[in-house]
């Protein structure tokens, strides 16, 4: 398995208005292999979107990536790139799909042009050739009658079609990695499955690695090979999907599973996780989940590292030290 992406100790900081900086992404480490799908799961405010933006160095100023972070793409150090070299990464090696296709597409440019410019930014082809390729991309993402859609404006398409266009744009320069930030959140339930289907198909046909960012555990099952759960700027649990579902080990993950309403089985009370997500400007000291954790004990005032549960499965919890 070729390693395509290595992220180590990624920290993103923002000024908090009083001269200090806070870190919504605080020490994230993960890897991505060719052909695999990894899911980054967490609620809003946990830092998962910023993590994906960091990969492309798209953190909006005054935010910045802290110097002791490391992002390696193949052999290339992404954080050391500037100017043209950085442009070469964007779109060509990592393609990104954003959450809301209505606001993520330029309303005054035709859809075909928005795909075509992505192609021409990285390949020296003519406009006609780019148009040809855009047509094929639209076909690939499953848009019916792609020829007429090329000249459409975003507002003339349905939500599902717009998201397919976003996927086409992300694929335009044939990247090795596809980052999908909440690709289905803004869509109807019926359309969600279709979009995920498209992503799956493209991943295997093109041999890409996919980083799927979502808050919805339901999407993860059956689609992702591995899962990393994020909370308060850190990864708190990572495991192959099947293991995570069978044996969730971090109390937060357990809480997530417990709070999902179930259709089958006897009707029962919903069990939410008590308390609320802490703001990034004030991460709790020690284990960040401690204030909300029903299993917290005295050691939890110290911040736990990721501890092994089973092969390939780690959790950021002191309970992992206790043999089950």
């Amino acid at each position: 398995m070729t390693r395509v992406l290595e992220v180590e100790n990624l920290r993103v900081s923002f000024p908090d208005g009083s001269g200090r900086r806070f870190r919504p992404v605080d020490g994230v480490t993960f890897t991505l292999d060719r052909g695999e799908t990894m899911a980054l799961v967490g609620e809003s405010g946990c830092g998962k979107s910023l993590t994906s933006l960091a990969l492309l160095r798209l953190i909006p100023p005054p935010g910045r990536i802290e110097p002791d972070s490391s992002i390696r793409l193949g052999g290339t150090d992404v954080l050391g790139l500037e100017g043209n070299a950085l442009r070469q990464i964007r779109g060509r090696r990592i393609g990104m799909i954003f959450q809301d296709p209505m606001t993520s597409l330029n309303p005054v440019l035709r859809v075909g042009d928005q795909i075509g410019e992505g192609i021409r930014a990285h390949f020296p082809v003519s406009k006609a050739e780019a148009r040809e390729r855009s047509l094929r991309l639209l076909q690939e993402v499953g848009i019916p009658d792609p020829g007429s859609r090329l000249d459409a404006y975003p507002h003339e398409l349905s939500g599902g079609m717009r998201q397919r266009v976003m996927i086409a744009i992300a694929l335009a320069a044939e990247p090795e990695i596809l980052v999908a930030d909440e690709p289905t959140t803004a869509l109807d339930v019926t359309v969600q499955a279709q979009i995920l289907e498209v992503l799956d198909r493209l991943r295997s046909s093109r041999g890409m690695a996919v980083l799927l960012i979502t808050h919805d555990l339901g999407i993860v099952a059956g689609r992702a090979d591995r899962v990393a759960v994020m909370y308060a700027g850190q990864i708190v649990e990572e495991a192959p999907t099947a293991r995570l579902f069978a044996n969730p080990s971090h109390p937060y993950t357990q809480g997530l599973f417990a709070s999902v309403p179930r259709i089958r089985g006897p009707a029962r009370r919903l069990t939410p996780i008590p308390g609320s997500v802490p703001p990034a400007t004030a991460w709790p000291s020690g284990c960040r989940f401690r204030p909300r954790c029903l299993k917290a004990f005295d050691k939890c005032v110290m911040e736990p590292p990721l501890l092994p549960i089973e092969p390939g499965h780690r959790a950021r919890c002191w309970l992992a030290e206790t043999p089950r």
Binding site: I89, M96, L105, N106, P107, V108, E117
Partner: protein, 323 residues
């Protein structure tokens, strides 16, 4: 689209009609005798004054004056200028080109330099250039055009003797000289008035463009454009500016009255032979047919400008065009 155009045009015509009535009665209801000024300059016998009064229809009741005005207007007749003794329409036609030239130059500068500076400011927000330009635009906005005109006329025209500060052409220029020489001559005379008006108007254009750009640069599709690996130039101009230009376009409709007002002062100071200086002269002479004619023309320009702006907006924004 065609239907909307028709509606909009009809609306504009109604507005103009009401404006015309408004202006007519405003003028006539003002206290004072328009002929008083005329008799200040040259001694007239009471009989001559009465004859003049009859000639200009000033002895009739106001209702009758209005009906004959409208009647004449329908035939394209705007009356006769008291000051010049010639038809108002002819005077207006003579002076329009100079104002068009000046206005055109200022508009061009606004939509090139003004827009570009506003975009630059937004892209390098908070930088040294941004702060300086903001200061400049705040000051420019607060500067009276006639004062700036005098300052520039004095500095550039008189003290440094670089450019002419009066008129549109050099009266001593050989009339037989080629059109290039004439064009250059007019061009040299155009610089100061155009510069004055531009400084004051660009101040506002820059501000609007800057704030519109800042709004657009925050939007998600700009991140998408960057994520594609597009060069910065493409992101700024092809993606951001194409959307940020619309608010600037809409204020063009508001800008026109300001430009017209400014040109009154600037043309007056630089003796630029356009509609503005014509209006000022008419004011001095209490030449109400001429003043009325000029004001009417100005209203037509403003209303047309606003109509054209709406049209352009509808044409350029695909969301509006296709609905």
């Amino acid at each position: 689209m065609g239907r909307w155009l028709l509606q909009r045009t009809a609306q504009a015509l109604v507005t103009l009609a009401i404006a015309c009535v408004l202006m007519f009665f405003l003028m006539r209801l003002a206290p004072g005798d328009p002929l008083a000024r005329l008799s200040e300059d040259r001694p007239l016998t009471p009989a001559q004054v009465e004859a003049l009064r009859a000639r200009f229809g000033l002895d009739r009741p106001i209702g009758a004056q209005f009906t004959s005005f409208v009647g004449a207007l329908a035939q394209g007749d705007l009356g006769t200028s008291i000051q010049y003794g010639r038809p108002v329409t002819a005077l207006l036609a003579e002076r329009i080109p100079a104002t068009l030239l000046l206005g055109g130059a200022v508009l061009l500068l606004n939509f090139t330099v003004g827009v570009w500076l506003g975009v630059r400011q937004a892209v390098r927000r908070g930088g040294a250039a941004d702060t300086t330009l903001t200061l400049f635009s705040l000051a420019g906005y607060a500067t009276p055009s006639f004062w700036l005109a005098l300052v520039l006329a004095w500095l550039v025209g008189v003290k440094w003797h670089l450019l002419p500060a009066a008129g549109m052409e050099d009266p001593l220029l050989d009339p037989g000289a080629g059109w290039v020489t004439h064009a250059v001559d007019v061009g040299r005379h155009l610089v100061l008035p155009a510069l004055t008006l531009s400084i004051v108007s660009i101040a506002g254009t820059m501000r609007y463009q800057r704030s519109a750009m800042l709004e657009v640069l925050r939007l998600p599709y700009i991140v998408t454009a960057e994520a594609k690996g597009l060069p910065e130039r493409a992101v700024i101009w092809r993606h951001a500016w194409r959307n940020a230009f619309f608010p600037v376009l809409t204020i063009f409709g508001l800008w026109l009255p300001l430009l017209v007002t400014g040109s009154v002062f600037v043309e007056s100071v630089f003796a630029w032979p356009g509609l503005g200086s014509l209006a000022v002269g008419a004011v001095g002479y209490r030449d109400y047919p001429l003043l009325m004619g000029t004001s009417l023309l100005v209203a037509v320009v403003v209303v047309t400008g606003s109509l054209v702006t709406d049209l352009a907006y509808g044409f350029l924004d695909p969301r509006v065009r296709l609905s």
